[in-house]
Symmetry: D2
Subunit: 277 residues, 4 copies
């Protein structure tokens, strides 16, 4: 696979020497061996919700808080996020907990605003081929988390990363979040094979998001473990203090005790160095 | 189907009385019974190419010229379109031929520029869920051609239309252009069933694009006819004076004589009023 | 396309001279230009149902009666068909009306029995790659209607036909019946592009089944017309005297007056000789 | 999920008390906690190939030998398997090594023959909805390995199991082997989420086959580990002494040293009892 990769993806493609890129933010290293945990609610809803969640994420050993403030919703009549007010809440949470912040940007005109508050800019599935946005975040000096489009091939995904990289920004983290397929019991199908495939083709770190992929909280833990053992550099999961009252994605959100159990389970997995690769 | 539709799609959904919306631009009416033909190259490449094509489109009875100047390409290393220079060429062509112009806009910051030259703003497949763009074209007083996302459900598509409609712009034309599936001989699968389904659910006009859907020029004519007989309000096809030299999508472009034959074939079809519905 | 086809499909592939195979049964010719209509209920249920339906099919100009007696049902707890008793009813109907009979066989041990009563052996979607069955019907001197598997590629489908052809039976009719995809308003997606693709690749006649494909009676007529205008050699549709009481597939069955209207609509279409190909 | 399951799948559905079925063959228990390893070539080719492979499987700790003798091939011109001669080779191998044998049956008329030699009857993907075959293996007193159809939903798969169970045979093992989707780097997409979903819905044991799913030997080990950590009761992998000379599926076959490494890696995984479920 890798020979072809260098031609198709001059920047995202893996080089001869198999070096792996590490995205480093303060003391957090993504791609350095230890799986990184990004957790938090689908959307920032209010002060209490985000502070409660963040404290649990912090105590459990999570290092990065996720939380949407600009929400791309299928219907214009669904909750669209708190916008700037949400960013300010995230800033307060960061101040208190020290957690890093990842949050989505979907409008080229919002990049400066979001970059002021976030530590990682998230590009959501629906925007994976929103090329003006990819070009602009390519000019920012901040890590970008690029989610795979709901039905993007791996080739299209790496070429989307290439749009960011060739504009100068080398800090790209890929995120597999499930693809559309023949499922009736899950929301999408988590394509865990994307993890070893990307490792063959590219030097970029890759994490998985089993919450969006499955849509059911009871499936999140087994699939988070599966992704990490297959080589993922981290997981992104949805956590909410009261899943049944969440303004979006409640069904797939872990409550706080279940999230703590997930973290303990991930720690039981043999590290890459213990395994024969 | 239609009862549910009114709840889900307050603006795009069909009303009790089955009225159909007509999008009218100068003397061209889309949705009024007679199928409208939009034709032209994938991308505007140079003066000769666009003028030669436009004259044939005009002579053959086409009323709207398509031609991309901002091209959303999977790879950043592919030809990205002529940009403003292409818009100026389109303006000259319109001046000479009187054809209306449809061309894609993919950056919210380009809407004013494109709207200055175009008669219809095209939202491409990759941008069907680019919500900031949908909101902004919803504020413009100009028809919008909304292509179905490559793997969007009809529900997601109609909800994307709803984003435009609720921002004020009622002139939305839907365009089915093929979905991703299990094909090896075609580029995508043209979902012709979307035509009667949309007619059941919505009052918006719908056209089909068999060029992108199939990726092969020899399949374009039979599928254009199929779409129209199934109820489509028009077709959008790619035409190029020298398909084998096209900068993009040459394989699926009709040469000029084949395009003329397509138009003659469409005229042979019984009109809706001759058929028993 | 066709060069490659001759290598991949030595028997099903189209020859240089573009000759088209005609499957002839008594006075009915499938593949000879005039679209053939096969109609009838999903399943033979009782004497009255099958006789009432058959008389309408006959009067409306249909030539072939469809009706399942061995039903491949997803659940073992659903109605499985009348078996031999159903075949005997079909024989009586044939005696009275002169309609030809097409019915499914799904067990190699039933081929002789079904062949005694049927004029065309149907291989259903679920059995498209049931190779022992394909081999055995390849040894029978009777036309075989081979439905495309629900998610089969066209290549897999033509290779399945090849299994029949190379065992001696050259009377194969292909039937496109919809593939699985991203739909919520239809049962499957009718891949009408399969019609012109098969015409490019193969000399075998091809018909379409818009009833199974769509699952909704109001979508059957527009898609039947679309398939025929795209080049299909016939249509297979489900018809039932009381669709809402049908033991299977009621939602997609046409009632008798709607079926008669469908037939009249198909007759309004320009014939292949009137069109420029 | 499980409430609904009991209604839809009266036999395959999980009961209140969460009991898990164990399929026991001699001393091998499938579903009892320790993952079972089934390994061997795609097809039995000759004495040397199958003996060499079997000895390595045995030495490495595998307990069940896989090897096809009746091969369902997409093209009738591909190698179709050794048939009875292959079964006799498998019997000799079993005699020498003590390995249990799993091999595919695809013709109802071959069940007695295959059952004479095999310990587990395999129903392949293409035959998941071959109902006469399911009914007949439901009457045999021998475990059945039921592969998921290439595009079957989990519901269709469990209902296929239900066909076997209601005919009397309660020894059904499910096998996830990849589904068709949007991939260009893998042959199919291994749906690892099927493992925890099936655990929620059913008491039947489930294993995974990462060889067919991925089509690339370098992806087999990470996905085998992922499946087991997600809860699979075993893995089925293709192993060949000279993958590049295999008569089928060489690209996805592990060579013997890589297979041995896979087994060692699986042993490093924490057992279910070490994990918090």
């Amino acid at each position: 696979m890798s020979q072809l990769a260098r031609d198709l993806y001059p920047l995202a493609g893996r080089k001869e020497e198999l070096s792996k890129s590490i995205v480093e933010i303060d003391r957090v290293k993504i791609g350095a061996g230890k799986p990184v945990i990004m957790a938090g609610p689908c959307a920032v809803e209010d002060r209490e919700q985000i502070f409660t969640t963040a404290r649990t994420v912090k105590e459990s050993g999570g290092e990065i808080l996720r939380g949407g403030v600009f929400k791309p919703r299928t219907s214009p009549y669904s909750f669209q996020g708190l916008g700037k007010e949400g960013l300010e809440l995230l800033a307060e949470v960061k101040e208190e907990t020290g957690l890093l912040i990842v949050t989505e940007v979907m409008d080229v005109r919002d990049i400066d605003l979001v970059a002021e508050y976030a530590d990682i800019l998230q590009i959501g599935s629906r925007n994976m081929q929103h090329y003006p946005l990819l070009r602009e975040v390519g000019k920012v000096d901040m890590p970008v988390l690029l989610k795979r489009g709901m039905t993007a091939t791996i080739k299209e995904w790496l070429l989307a990363a290439e749009y960011i990289l060739r504009n100068g920004n080398q800090q790209v983290i890929l995120c597999e979040r499930g693809i559309r397929g023949f499922q009736e019991y899950t929301r999408n199908i988590l394509d865990i094979s994307a993890v070893p495939v990307v490792r063959q083709l590219s030097h970029l770190p890759i994490i998985i998001d089993p919450s969006h992929a499955t849509g059911h909280s009871e499936l999140v833990t087994p699939l988070a473990k599966a992704g990490v053992i297959a080589g993922a550099d981290g997981v992104m999961v949805e956590v909410h203090p009261n899943p049944e009252q969440a303004l979006c994605d409640g069904e797939q959100s872990l409550d706080l005790p279940t999230f703590q159990k997930l973290v303990r389970n991930l720690k039981l997995l043999p590290s890459n160095s213990e395994q024969e690769i």
